[in-house]
Symmetry: none
Subunit: 243 residues, 2 copies
DNA sequence: AACGGCCGTTAAGAAACCGTCAAGTTTTAG
DNA sequence: CTAAAACTTGACGGTTTCTTAACGGCCGTT
C-alpha cells in the first residue's frame, strides 16, 4: 500500500516536470547513448534518424527541445532548422564535429540556439539544454507587443501598423525593441545608443534624433504628436504606457 | 528559576532596542533636561560638556546618535562634526540659537544631519532624532517614493501626482531626487545647487528659488502651502516625511 | 512707519535641445 | 562590381529649458 502510493506520487511529479526532447541523428550509437543518458537525467526522450522525420515528429510530439545532428543524410540539420523556424520557436541545440565553423555559423543564423561539439560529455549537453530552455521561457514572456494600431512581433521580427506591415531598418528595430523591453521607463540617450552601436559609443544624441524621427514616421500616426515614443527633453526617450 | 530567566530575557530585549545617545552641551541645565526627558522617551543617555570629550566618548561609547550644542567652548560643534565625519557616519543633530544661520549652514555642510533651534520641545527633538536615525538605517537605495498623491518612480524616472503624469525638467527632477534621497533632512542651498550644477557652483540661492517654485507648482496641490517641499528659512529646503 | 533681508512668483531673453530635410558615406545584397 | 539600402553627418527652424531680472509679500528691526 505505502509503496504503491509513493510510486504514484513520484511518477506524477516527474511527469509534470519532464521535458520532451527529440534527438535527431543518423548514428545509431549516438541515438542510444543520448536516449539512455538523457532519460537518466529526467528527460522524456524520442529519437529519429532523418531530417524529414524530424520535422514530422516535431509537429506530432510537440517536444520542448530539439537535438539535431548537423551532418544528416538527405536534408541536413541547417535546412531542418530553417524549416522548423518558420513556424516554431522550439529551442534547437545541434551536434557538430570539430572544424566545422562555417556550418555552425550557418546553423546559428538559421535560428539554432546553441551547439555542442563532438565528442561531448553528457553534463555539457544537459547544461546547454537547460540554458536553451530557460532562454526560450524568458522569450515567451513577451512575444508580441500590441498597443492600439501598433503591433510588434518580437519573435518573427515583424512590425505592423494599422494592419499594414512596416519595414524597419536594423537600427530602428533595435531601438524599438529596447523601448518595448523597458516600456514605461525613460531610457537615456546613452542607454539607447549603447543598444544600437557598440558598448563604447559616445553620446551623439543627434544621431539618435535622426533614427527616432525615421522610426516615428513609420509607426506614428502623426509624428508631430507622437503617441508611442515620447521625448524626455534633456534626458532621452520612453515608450508610453497607460497607467 | 523561571523568574530569573524571564527577567534576563526582558532586560536583553530592552537593551537591544535602546538607542544610545550622547548629549554634548556646556550648559548644565540643558544636559540635565535632555537626560531626564530623553531617558523618559526610552533613550540610553550619556552627557558631556566639551568638544574634546565628545570625540573621545563617541569613540568609547559608540553611541547611535549625537546631540551637539553649536556654541561649545573650546573646539565648537562645527569642528567636532568635521572631525567625527572623518571616520564615522553617526547621525548628528545639533542645537542652535536663532539668528545663527551661517553656523547652521556650516554645520550641515560639515556633515551634520539636522538641527533644532532653541528653545525647542522634546517632541520636536525626538522626531528629528527618529528621522536622522531612520536615514542611517536604510542603507539600500529607494526605488519608488510614495507619499500621499505624489509618486516618484526612480527607476523609470516617472513622476505622477494624483495619478496623472507630471513632466519634470532635468533640473527639477534632479532636485526632487536628492530631496528624496535625504528625505526629512535639511539640505542647504549649496548642497542642492551642487547637485544641479557642477561641483564648482557658487551659491546663487535665487536660481534655486525659481526651480523650487516651478517644481512646487507641478507636485504640490497648493504651492502657497507646500506639503512636501518645506522651506527652511536662511538655510535651505527639506522634504517632509512622517515618522 | 520706513527699511532691509528673505522668499515666491512672473516674465523675457539666452542657451540648449529637438525634429526634419537633404546630402554624403558606408554597408549590404545580388 | 554595381545598385540599393542603411547609416552618418551637416544645416536650419521650432520648441523647451535655463538663467537673469524685476516686482510684491512677509517679517523683524530701526
Amino acid at each position: 500500500m505505502i509503496g504503491n502510493q509513493l510510486t504514484v506520487t513520484v511518477d506524477e511529479s516527474r511527469e509534470m516536470q519532464k521535458t520532451k526532447v527529440l534527438v535527431v541523428d543518423d548514428d545509431h550509437a549516438i541515438r542510444r547513448f543520448l536516449r539512455t543518458s538523457l532519460t537518466a537525467h529526467g528527460y522524456d526522450v524520442f529519437t529519429t534518424a532523418t531530417g524529414e522525420d524530424a520535422i514530422l515528429q516535431t509537429i506530432n510530439l510537440q517536444p520542448d527541445l530539439l537535438i539535431l545532428d548537423l551532418g544528416l543524410p538527405g536534408i541536413n540539420g541547417i535546412e531542418v532548422t530553417r524549416r522548423i523556424r518558420e513556424w516554431s520557436q522550439i529551442p534547437i541545440v545541434f551536434l557538430s564535429v570539430q572544424n566545422q565553423d562555417s556550418d555552425k555559423i550557418e546553423a546559428l543564423d538559421a535560428g539554432a540556439d546553441d551547439y555542442v561539439t563532438k565528442p561531448f560529455s553528457i553534463g555539457e549537453l544537459t547544461a546547454r539544454l537547460r540554458v536553451a530552455r530557460r532562454h526560450m521561457q524568458q522569450e515567451e514572456e513577451q512575444l508580441v507587443f500590441v498597443k492600439e494600431k501598433l503591433r510588434v512581433d518580437l519573435t518573427a521580427r515583424v512590425v505592423t501598423f494599422d494592419g499594414k506591415e512596416v519595414q524597419l531598418t536594423p537600427t530602428e528595430y533595435d531601438l524599438l525593441k529596447v523601448l518595448i523591453k523597458y516600456a514605461g521607463r525613460v531610457l537615456t540617450h546613452q542607454q539607447l545608443l549603447r543598444e544600437v552601436r557598440g558598448a563604447g559609443a559616445q553620446t551623439d544624441t543627434h544621431l539618435l534624433r535622426v533614427h527616432m524621427s525615421n522610426l516615428r514616421h513609420k509607426i506614428e500616426e502623426d509624428p508631430t504628436n507622437p503617441q508611442f515614443i515620447l521625448t524626455e527633453p534633456g534626458v532621452g526617450y520612453r515608450l508610453r504606457i497607460d497607467i
